[in-house]
Every structure is written in structure tokens, then in C-alpha cells.
């Protein structure tokens, strides 16, 4: 029966409005006038009334009134409104209190000063709300109740405590009532409010009130079975964050938890109990489940702590008895419920003999009653009690089972002890002699132990309770049997163990002695296997492998080795038994896993010698970022500092390496920092694609202004004969791949400190001419820079590393096979393979690493200088020549102006691609430096499985570009331009935004430069330039906008020495559009041929070319491609 407040059925749900059943006039409290509240006593309420009350209690305006009133800020009118709705007022107060309690629970986990302040504030709010609620409910506040009123037992006169929910145990039931020291009796409304506030389930039945001691009155009470509230006792009565509960409720919660703990261990036994029914001829019986293995000390502690309120209805019953009774009830409730869920054979209709009685008993384990002749049951009850006696005694003293670590003969000694006073251990055989009255129980428990662990019964044991265990038996005791024995009530003490399976690895001991030897110096080596921190020789492994359960002690704990791991380690050692001398390079390859690793833990190197020292230094090289070197005017990010430290490690060890920072992470400034740090005796040679040569020069000017930088590129570069003189005195020489190959005969005569290959994927094909020729360069250290060290496969990485450290990483097939085994062919697999080398031959960092991403700005703008092909140069010059020629023949300034503007457009198209200017059916490949650079960017972006946007203001070219890139990379690319229908454009955007993995979208600057949200891309390429920087910014902002979660990298492609670059100057604000082609106070039509050449012509010293030959200036002048016009 539900009595906790008014309950209504609303939409099939039970709705408890928390309203006490007997609302009335509350007593005056703390200056508040008595409040007459109209409660449910005025008559039964409909579900609609309850709904309306609930809705009002949640109304923000009403809640505001309730809060104002609680803070003493409500005027009379406000108070009248509240008093007119007492139910909603109470509900709103309860809701607010719940919210406050929830907030307090969360805040109390915090420890800061701010949190403490917030807790204070909330507690103040809680106190005000409680005060009003208590006032409404007629519950006196402890602060204002006159202390003169005695309410507790003698001696309690001066004590005043809060009214709290009290729980009393009587007649196998829980009785709930409200009260507190120094408080008057609490009526049913107050009790119901407390039950509600403590989240007690609504399962209480009415019962007579509880008489408080010393005439303090009678508090209303309700009662229920333990089983009905067991979950609440466990969850809420043990939770100190749940307020309103008395010490008696907490105590019963603890006892309930103990009961459940016993059941969870299986510590209970069935017991037959007779039910006394005078009216029946045959006696009835029930099975009850009795707690077993009860810790007598814990029982005593709990009995001593039992509040008197628990037994207020059972005067004369002592605390230990009540404690045992509650514990037994909890155990019985859980077990009966469990037994109900188990299917057992039906009981015989009548138990006429012991066999039928046994059947009856098994059929009634759920606590249901059964009848049987008293004589039969008596015998069985006695037998059951004797059977369970070893675990049901009032004082259970567990036997201790102790396993000692093995002696030198690998024998594990197990002994059983009896525990005496102060937990003193006595060998059980000795203890049995002196046990006296407890001998039977001790003997019975030893028998129990022997049943569960049979080696104790082995014939020939030293004495009873002592036995020598084999390694497998010891392991079984430590792992499986030990917990079972503990659950069965024994104190199990075994050596520390770990269930962790050690990872096997090989250790290569280098015994070269002298650490200065190099990669090719041979040294004596020996091999061992290592299981975590335990090192095993081949002989050790043979011995362990012969054991059924090989145990070793790792880090102070015993662990079991896997036989398969031992076999693998034995095989690996046998395979290497003859390898007693190795070079440093071979050892390094072993450590890096480049010669394969037969064991999961790989191969480590110890001892002394080049490789061991190298690895030891590598492990600490990048722990601390290097400081910005003197002469470097920038500020390196922390990962760049780590990269610099790694470069310094390479410099010190004479190794080469691959700096593999992701695109946009600043490889160039990092390398410049290294070059300025190592500048001095020998110059450095930087070999880069033409697109980034200009960038190297400008970055060097910016970050290392003190370095003398020579750009060896283009038609005006030093001849082979004068190269040495040009390089002499230079700190850094920058050149292109094609120039370096072309001038290799001269370059190989110069000794460089560092040779740096930028965009080193250019040498990924070791057989091509560039790779072969560059190997001729003489350098102390070879370094490679790339964001995509594994563009097409691990062979790319081998080519780079074999260039930086010739011969060190071994042959290509073995390298690829070894690293491929640590990857799975995916990008992640390749990254895992890279990590195997990271910090030694490779320094890899990616933008996806959180620590790196945290340091990056949200946008990086890069200017890429692109080369011109001979076809582009020829066309460019032809268009210019036609314009100049026309200048001498065409009359009219306006017409002339139109021609100049058309020529500028044509020149920009030619910079893009010859096909952008003049369509033909030829392939696009190899005809545009810009396109080549774009393809490099797309390759890097796709390798990172990211997406990019490519903007051009020539829509027709955009369509061709999209088709070309789609075909080139095998991933379809759309082109968003104004010629498409609105629906088609929207679909393109939607499709792109849903893309996962690599992808791209080409957009015309005009149609796609504004309004679109394309945050799925984090790379933007401005393929050609527009005069207004704002237009370009808007285009870039399609990706760099709210919703973007990655750093956006924007590339602007420019052909130096062309009109393209002059547009860049305009965009960069270095000049105005008008200044581009017009001398001051002139107009387009006024330009003479020479002025036109200056304004729009090729600056041959700036134009980048990729081809083997320099720009032929005379050819330009003469117009190699005379046929002009779209």
C-alpha cells in the first residue's frame, strides 16, 4: 500500500506529488507566522489537479516567487500567491532542494577555493529552502526549538539534533519514523516528506506510531519488509551525500551491504526453521538462509555502533542479536529470491521418509513452507546444522594458508596455520593439539581446506597441513585456487604475482669495448632473451621450457611465461648463435627492426660500441627541445626545437636523416636554424624544387639574416668554372634538382657540411638520374626534408634513407619487408612503420598529434613560387611581342587600353597553363610549372587523407583542371562554377562536405569565392591571383571558418618574373594596380613598346625553369612561339 503522499495515475504513470496525507496547520517557527495550508485533507484530488500542481511548481514565474520568499524578498502579495498553492509551493521547494543537492554533490568533488565558495553559497540556499519547507510541513527547526524540552533518554537533555528519517528493526520488518534529539514528535506529513526527500521507494504500510522516550510524544510510523527496500538501503542509506537520514538508517545500510557482500562470496547455508501454528496438526517448516563465515570482530564493531533507535520497538533485545538478525534477514531475502528463479523438481505430495523429506527440502529452498513429520525434520535439521557448523559458529577463526617462495631446488613450501590471539600463527597440527574446545571446529575447517585443495591430502607430506608444491601447483594456488579458498573462508597468503604476460624480446650485447668505432667496425656480440626485466640465456630457457608452468620473478612479482614465447625465444637465440661478430650498422639495423624481429618485443642493444652508444644518445636526444640558436631571429615551436635537437644529434654522430614534418609544420625554418647553428667551415647545399627556391631565399633572409645565401639557379647562375668561387664564403647554396644534376660535375668537387634535399620525394626512385647524380655530392651529413616520406610505399622511405645514410639501412627488399610487417598497408600502418625509425634516422611529426595541433596557428599562408616550362615562356613572350608590335600600329588610346588588359589576362592564363590560354587536345602533364606544383600539393594532401579546395578565376580552365586531377589521382573531382544550375552546385557542395578520406573541389573564384561553407577541406590553393586581396581572403575563408577543426593551409601559386608576380605585389599591397603598368600620369593607351616590355615582360633572372636549359634570352626576344591568340 502506498502511503507516501498523494498518488494519482496520470497517463498510466504513478504520480507522487510528495504531498503529505494529512496537511494541516503548521506550527510557528523562527518568527514565521503559522501557515494554514490547504492540503489533500480538504478532499481527494483528481489527476488533473495533480497535473496542474506539478505544472505550476515548474513554472518559472512561480519558482521565482518561491525563491524570493526563501530569501525573504517576497512581499505580502507574493506570499499570498504561494499560500494559495501550498502543494505546488512544497513541490517547488522540494524540486529546488533536489537541484541544490545535486549541485552540491558535484561541487563537493572539487577542491578549489572557487568551489568552496560555491558550496558555501549553495549550502546557504539549501538551508533557506529547508527552513521554509520545514515550516510548511510543520517540522521544527533545531536552531529554534527550545532546548528546555526534554525528548530523549536521560542524559540527552542538552542535545539537539536535526529531524531525520529513523529506521527501526522489529519482527523481521523495518519501521520508518521521523525524529531527532531534542525534537518533538513528527506527524505523518513530516515523515512522508522525509521519505520522499531520501528517495525511499513508496512501499510502506501504515502502522501504529512510535512512542518516543521520556514522553516526547508519538511519531507517525510506517513499515515494510527488508526485501522491498533493500536496493534503497544499499544505494542511498550508505551514501553520505543523501541527506535527511539518521544514524539508524546509515547503520542499517551498512549492515545490508555486509549481508549482500556475504551472499556475493557464497557465504551462506540453508537452515530449516519451524513455523509455529497452533491450529495445524502437522507442523510447517521453511528453509532460511543463514550467513556463514561471519567475521566476529566486524559483528562486534557494528553491534557496538548500533543506535538505540534501531531497537526502540524491541526493548530488551541486545545489539548483537539485532545485528545478527538483520544480517540474516538480508542474506535470506537475497537467497530466497535467487532460489525462486531456479527450477527444481517438484516436491513429493507428502514427505514420509528421509528421501522424500530431502526432495521436499530441495523444492522449498525459496522459503516457501512445507509440512513434514516433526521427527523426520528434527533428524534432518540436526544433520544440516552439524554439516554447516564449521562455518556458522559465532566466532569463526579462519585458517591461514601460506605459500613460501621456492627454495633453490624450486620447491614451493605450503603450510596451514591456525590464527591465535593477535593473529599469531601456529602450525595447524600443533594448534590442533592445544585447541581444547575449538578442536572440532578447527579440525572441520582443515578438512574443508583439504577438500578444496587436494595436494594437502597428498601422502608423504611433511606433517598435516604442510606440503611441498610443484611449480604448476603453486601457480594454480596463486592464481585460481587462492581466490576460491578465500571465498571459502580461508586466509590465503601467497607470494606477489602478476597475471601480465611478459613480452619477449632479444637483447644484443655489444662487447666492442671502444665506443668510438663506426658503423663499419666489427665488434663481438652475444645474444640473450628478455622477458620484461628478466634476462634469460639459452640454457635458462631450456630449463624453463621443460617445466609445466615456467615461473620467473619480474619486478618482484611472479609471472608465468608462455611456452610459445619460450619456444620462439629459444629458436631466435639458436638462429643467432653463430652471429658473434657484427658491424655497427648491422647492430643498428637489428635494433631498428630492419633485419626483422622474431619476437614481439623486438631487439634491444646493450653493452658498449658505436650502435649501443648511438641508440643510447638517440633515446635522450629529443627529450628536451634545443634552444633557438644564435643567429636565428625566429622562435621555434617546441616540436621544431625537438627536431633541431635531433638534427644536432645527427650532426654529432655523423648520421644522415629524414626530417619528416607534415606539410605546414615549418621544415624550412627548422632546417635554417640547424644551418645557422652549424655554419662555419663548410657551406651547406640546399637542393629544392624551383617552386620553393624563392621561399628558401626569403625564409633565410627572414630567419637567418646573418647567413650568406647564394641562389645557384637560372640563366645568370655561376658557370661551372666559377662555381667554386661563388660558393667560397657562402654559408648556404640554394639550387634546384635539375640545376644540381646539370652542374653535378662542378658541385661534386666541393665538400659541403650538409646537403639538404627539400621535397626529398624527388629521389624516391633510386634508379633515376637525379637520385644517382645527387649521390655524387660530397657532404659530411645528408639530410632529407619531406612531409610525405612514404608517398607510394616503404620503398620511397628506403630511397630517402639510403641516400642520407648509404648502405646503412641494408637492401631495399629486406627494409620494405621488415617495416611492412609492422604496418598493414594503410596510412596508419605506414605511420606505425615510420615510428619504428622515429628519433634515430627519421624525425616524424604530424598535425594530427594533439600536442602539435595545440601549437599551430589556425591558419598558415604559404607562397609557392612556380617554374615556367619552355612552352609557357614561349607563349608568354609571343603574346607580349604581339602587344608591343600592336603598340606601334594601332591608333586610339581606348582600343589600346583594351588590348593591354586582354594581354594581361592572356599572360595570366599562360602562367596557369598553355591550355588555359589556348585550348588544344594535348595532355596537360609536363606543360606547366604551376600544375606540377599543384600536383605536389595534392599528393601531400591526399597522402594525409585530407581535402583541398582549388580556386581559379578561369572557369573553363577549372573544368579542365578538375578533369585532369581526377584522372591523375584516380579520385573524381567536381568543378563548381557559375555555368552550373543552382541544384548542381548545391549538390557539389553537399557531396564535398560529406567526403571522407582524400578529396578535392575546384571552384571558380567568382562563383565559389563567397557564401559557401566548405569546412571539410583544410587546404586551399589559390591557383591564380586576383587583384583584390579581399576576394582571395573570402575564397580561403570557405574552409577557414567556424566549424573548421584543423589548421587551414592556404597556398598561393605564383610564377616569379611574370605578370603573375606583379599581381602578387599588388595583392600584397606593395604597389597599386595602376602602378603595375602605368608610369605616373599615364594611361594604358600611352604606353610605348619599351614601357610595355618593362611592365609585363619576363624578368629572365627571376623566372624559374625546371628544364635542363636556361631561358634563352635571345629566343625570348625573338618570340620562339610566334603564333599568338586564343
Amino acid at each position: 500500500m502506498d502511503t507516501a503522499g498523494t498518488t494519482a495515475i496520470v497517463d498510466g504513470q504513478v504520480v507522487d506529488d510528495g504531498t503529505p496525507a494529512n496537511a494541516g496547520t503548521a506550527m510557528a517557527v523562527d518568527g514565521l507566522e503559522p501557515t494554514t495550508v490547504a492540503g489533500p485533507s480538504s478532499g481527494p484530488r483528481s489527476a488533473d489537479d495533480v497535473r496542474a500542481e506539478s505544472a505550476l511548481a515548474r513554472d518559472p514565474g512561480f519558482l521565482s516567487l518561491v525563491e524570493s520568499h526563501a530569501w525573504g524578498e517576497a512581499d505580502d502579495a507574493d506570499t499570498e500567491v504561494l499560500e494559495a498553492q501550498p502543494g505546488a509551493w512544497r513541490r517547488a521547494l522540494l524540486d529546488l532542494l533536489h537541484h541544490t543537492d545535486d549541485a552540491l554533490v558535484g561541487l563537493r568533488r572539487g577542491r578549489s577555493a572557487d568551489t568552496a565558495q560555491a558550496i558555501d553559497d549553495l549550502e546557504g540556499e539549501q538551508s533557506r529552502l529547508e527552513r521554509v519547507l520545514n515550516h510548511l510541513l510543520g517540522i521544527a527547526e533545531p536552531e529554534v526549538v527550545a532546548p528546555a524540552q526534554p525528548s530523549g533518554p536521560a542524559g540527552d537533555d542538552a542535545v539537539i539534533g536535526p529531524v531525520a528519517l529513523q529506521l527501526t528493526w522489529t519482527d523481521r520488518k523495518l519501521v520508518a519514523w521521523a525524529g531527532g534529539p531534542g525534537q518533538s514528535a513528527v506527524d505523518r506529513r513530516g515523515l512522508d516528506a522525509l521519505l520522499g526527500s531520501t528517495a525511499a521507494p513508496a512501499v510502506w504500510d501504515n502502522r501504529g506510531p512510535v512512542q518516543l522516550p521520556d514522553g516526547a510524544g508519538r511519531s507517525a510510523a510506517v513499515e515494510t519488509q527488508v526485501g522491498a527496500v533493500l536496493g534503497w538501503l544499499l544505494a542511498d542509506c550508505t551514501d553520505t551525500d543523501v541527506g535527511g537520514l539518521s544514524a539508524s538508517a546509515r547503520w542499517l545500510g551498512h549492515l545490508a551491504a555486509w549481508g549482500v557482500e556475504l551472499v556475493a562470496r557464497g557465504a551462506m547455508v540453508p537452515h530449516v526453521r519451524r513455523i509455529h501454528r497452533k491450529s495445524r496438526q502437522k507442523p510447517s517448516y521453511v528453509i532460511t538462509w543463514t550467513p556463514a563465515l561471519v567475521d566476529s570482530e566486524r559483528l562486534k564493531r557494528l553491534a557496538d555502533a548500533m543506535p538505540g533507535t534501531v531497537s526502540i520497538l524491541s526493548p530488551g533485545v541486545d545489539a548483537p542479536t539485532v545485528t545478527r538478525a538483520v544480517l540474516a534477514e538480508v542474506v535470506d531475502v537475497v537467497c530466497r529470491d535467487a532460489a525462486k528463479r531456479v527450477e527444481v523438481p517438484a516436491a513429493p505430495p507428502e514427505a514420509r521418509n528421509p528421501g522424500e523429506l530431502a526432495e521436499s527440502l530441495l523444492a522449498h529452498l525459496d522459503g516457501s513452507t512445507f509440512e513434514a513429520p516433526a521427527g523426520l525434520v528434527g533428524d534432518m535439521t540436526n544433520a544440516l546444522d552439524r554439516w554447516s557448523a564449521p562455518v556458522t559458529g559465532k566466532t569463526y577463526h579462519p585458517l591461514a594458508v601460506q605459500l613460501d617462495p621456492p627454495d633453490s631446488g624450486n620447491a614451493w613450501h605450503l603450510a596451514v596455520f591456525a590464527q591465535g590471539p593477535n593473529h599469531r600463527l601456529t602450525p595447524v597440527e600443533v594448534a590442533l593439539v592445544n585447541a581444547g574446545n575449538s578442536r572440532r571446529e578447527m579440525e572441520a575447517n582443515l578438512v574443508r581446506l583439504e577438500r578444496l585443495f587436494e595436494p594437502l591430502k597428498r601422502p608423504g607430506s611433511l606433517r598435516r597441513g604442510e606440503v611441498v608444491l610443484s611449480q604448476p601447483e603453486a601457480w594454480e594456488l596463486m592464481t585460481e585456487v587462492g581466490p576460491v579458498l578465500r571465498d571459502a573462508g580461508f586466509d590465503v597468503r601467497v607470494p606477489a604475482l602478476s597475471r601480465h604476460t611478459p613480452t619477449p624480446s632479444l637483447r644484443l650485447w655489444a662487447e666492442g669495448g671502444v665506443s668510438a668505432v663506426g658503423a663499419n667496425q666489427l665488434a663481438d656480440v652475444r645474444w640473450t632473451a628478455v622477458f620484461d626485466d628478466v634476462e634469460l640465456t639459452a640454457a635458462d630457457i631450456r630449463r624453463l621450457a621443460a617445466e609445466a608452468r615456467p615461473l620467473v620473478r619480474v619486478g618482484g612479482r611472479w609471472v608465468a611465461l608462455d611456452h610459445a614465447d619460450l619456444a620462439a625465444a629459444a629458436a631466435a637465440l639458436a638462429e643467432r648463435a653463430d652471429r658473434t661478430r657484427m658491424s655497427g650498422a648491422e647492430m643498428l639495423r637489428q635494433a631498428l627492426g630492419l633485419d626483422g624481429s622474431p619476437l614481439a618485443g623486438g631487439i634491444s642493444i646493450s653493452g658498449s660500441g658505436w650502435a649501443a652508444d648511438l641508440l643510447a644518445r638517440a633515446s635522450t636526444a629529443t627529450l628536451e627541445p634545443a634552444a633557438d640558436p644564435e643567429g636565428f631571429t625566429g622562435q621555434l615551436r617546441s616540436y621544431q626545437g625537438e627536431a633541431l635537437a635531433w638534427l644536432q644529434f645527427l650532426e654529432a654522430t655523423g648520421l644522415g636523416g629524414c626530417l619528416a614534418l607534415d606539410m605546414g609544420l615549418g621544415k624550412t625554418p627548422t632546417m635554417l636554424a640547424h644551418l645557422v647553428a652549424t655554419a662555419g667551415e663548410l657551406p651547406a647545399l640546399v637542393v629544392a624544387p624551383p617552386a620553393v627556391v624563392g621561399n628558401w631565399a626569403s625564409e633565410a633572409r627572414k630567419f637567418t639574416p646573418g647567413l650568406k645565401v647564394v641562389v645557384h639557379h637560372g640563366a645568370s647562375r655561376a658557370s661551372a668554372e666559377s662555381l667554386a668561387a661563388e660558393v667560397d664564403g657562402a654559408d648556404v647554396v640554394i639550387t634546384t634538382y635539375s640545376t644540381a644534376v646539370r652542374d653535378i660535375d662542378a658541385l661534386e668537387k666541393i665538400t659541403f657540411g650538409n646537403v639538404v634535399l627539400d621535397e626529398a620525394q624527388a629521389i624516391k626512385n633510386p634508379a633515376n638520374d637525379t637520385s644517382q647524380q645527387l649521390r655524387r655530392l660530397d657532404s659530411r651529413t645528408r639530410l632529407a626534408l619531406t612531409g610525405t616520406p612514404i608517398e607510394n610505399g616503404l620503398g620511397d622511405l628506403w630511397a630517402i634513407l639510403d641516400f642520407t645514410n648509404p648502405g646503412l639501412v641494408g637492401p631495399r627488399p629486406a627494409f620494405v619487408a621488415s617495416l611492412a610487417s609492422s604496418g598493414d598497408g594503410t596510412r596508419d600502418g605506414a605511420e606505425r612503420a615510420l615510428r619504428a625509425l622515429n628519433g634515430i634516422l627519421v624525425f616524424r611529426r604530424t598535425k594530427s598529434e594533439p600536442a602539435i595541433a595545440a601549437e599551430l596557428p589556425d591558419r598558415i599562408d604559404e607562397l609557392d613560387h612556380c617554374s615556367m616550362t619552355p612552352e609557357q615562356i614561349g607563349l608568354y613572350q609571343a603574346v607580349l611581342d604581339a602587344l608591343v608590335t600592336g603598340a606601334t600600329t594601332e591608333p586610339g588610346a581606348d582600343q589600346r587600353k583594351g588590348q593591354v588588359l586582354a594581354a594581361i589576362t592572356a599572360l595570366k592564363q599562360i602562367c596557369n597553363h598553355p591550355v588555359a590560354y589556348r585550348a588544344d587536345d594535348g595532355p596537360l602533364d609536363g606543360r606547366s610549372g604551376k600544375l606540377a606544383r599543384l600536383e605536389e600539393i595534392v599528393t601531400a594532401v591526399y597522402a594525409a587523407e585530407e581535402r583541398l579546395l582549388i580556386f581559379t578565376h578561369f572557369a573553363e580552365w577549372g573544368v579542365k583542371l578538375a578533369a585532369h586531377l581526377g584522372q591523375r589521382f584516380g579520385i573524381p573531382i567536381g568543378c563548381y562554377h557559375g555555368g552550373l544550375s543552382r541544384g548542381a552546385r548545391d549538390q557539389l557542395v553537399a557531396d564535398f562536405q560529406e567526403l571522407e578520406g582524400p578529396g578535392a573541389l575546384v571552384l571558380s573564384l567568382k562563383a565559389g569565392g563567397t557564401g559557401l561553407n566548405l569546412t571539410n577541406a583544410n587546404h586551399v590553393v589559390l591557383y591564380d591571383r586576383w587583384w583584390n586581396p579581399a576576394v582571395e581572403d573570402q575564397a580561403r575563408d570557405r574552409a577557414w571558418r567556424i566549424g573548421q577543426t584543423k589548421t587551414v593551409i592556404a597556398h598561393r601559386l605564383v610564377c616569379p618574373g611574370t605578370v603573375d608576380e606583379r599581381v602578387e605585389e599588388v595583392v600584397a599591397g606593395k604597389r597599386h594596380i595602376a602602378d603595375l603598368v602605368l608610369p605616373k600620369s599615364s594611361s594604358l593607351g600611352d604606353l610605348d613598346p619599351n614601357q610595355l616590355k618593362v611592365a609585363l615582360g619576363l624578368r629572365t633572372d627571376e623566372v624559374l625553369t625546371e628544364g635542363p636549359e636556361p631561358i634563352d634570352a635571345p629566343a625570348l626576344a625573338g618570340g620562339a612561339f610566334a603564333e599568338v591568340g586564343p
Partner: protein, 101 residues
């Protein structure tokens, strides 16, 4: 929701009059250890030997095992619902007494 089961040193108590009588009691000052669940629920009852149910010893052991398994499962559920469950980190007990005397 994670629950707090510290002893009787709750913050609220500090702001209210102290109560320390045998009758009304003081909140129990004993931490509740996480309830560990047996991996072999019927181990203890099995250690007692065959139940003395003449002629039905095997059936009794079987039935007891079913009931013990179910009871432990039920206790586990109750403990978990009250956030009182916990079987440690899986490492076996490792304490070694300082002396065995």
C-alpha cells in the same frame, strides 16, 4: 552518479549541533569496502562436503550450485546498482606476512 561513502565526517554535520548519544546514535564511521564477487560461488558450501540429504546428495549439490550461482549473481546486481561493486584490478592477493610465527 558516483556516490560518496565517507564516514560520519560529512560536511553537513559540521554546520549542525553535534549529536553523540547512544540512543540517537552517531553515523557509523566505517568505510564500506567494494563488494568482491566470488568466482566460484559454491566453493564454501562444497567445502562442507555432501549435504546430509540421504539418497539425494548429488541432486542437493547440483541444486545448491544453481541457487548459489543465482544468489551471487543477484548480489552482484544489487551491489552494482548501489555502486558498491568492485573486484580490484585483477591481480591476485599478494600480501606476504612478515613472519609466520
Amino acid at each position: 552518479m558516483s556516490r560518496s561513502r565517507r564516514g560520519a565526517r560529512g560536511k553537513k554535520q559540521a554546520t549542525r549541533p553535534e549529536v553523540s548519544t547512544a540512543f540517537w546514535g552517531t553515523e557509523i564511521d566505517e568505510e564500506l569496502a567494494p563488494i568482491r564477487v566470488s568466482e566460484d560461488p559454491s566453493a564454501m558450501v562444497r567445502s562442507l562436503g555432501a549435504p546430509p540429504l540421504k539418497g539425494h546428495e548429488v541432486a542437493a549439490e547440483y541444486t545448491f550450485r544453481l541457487v548459489y550461482d543465482k544468489a551471487v549473481a543477484l548480489a552482484t546486481t544489487l551491489a552494482a546498482a548501489a555502486e558498491l561493486d568492485g573486484n580490484g584490478n585483477g591481480e591476485a592477493p599478494t600480501e606476504m606476512p612478515a613472519s609466520n610465527g
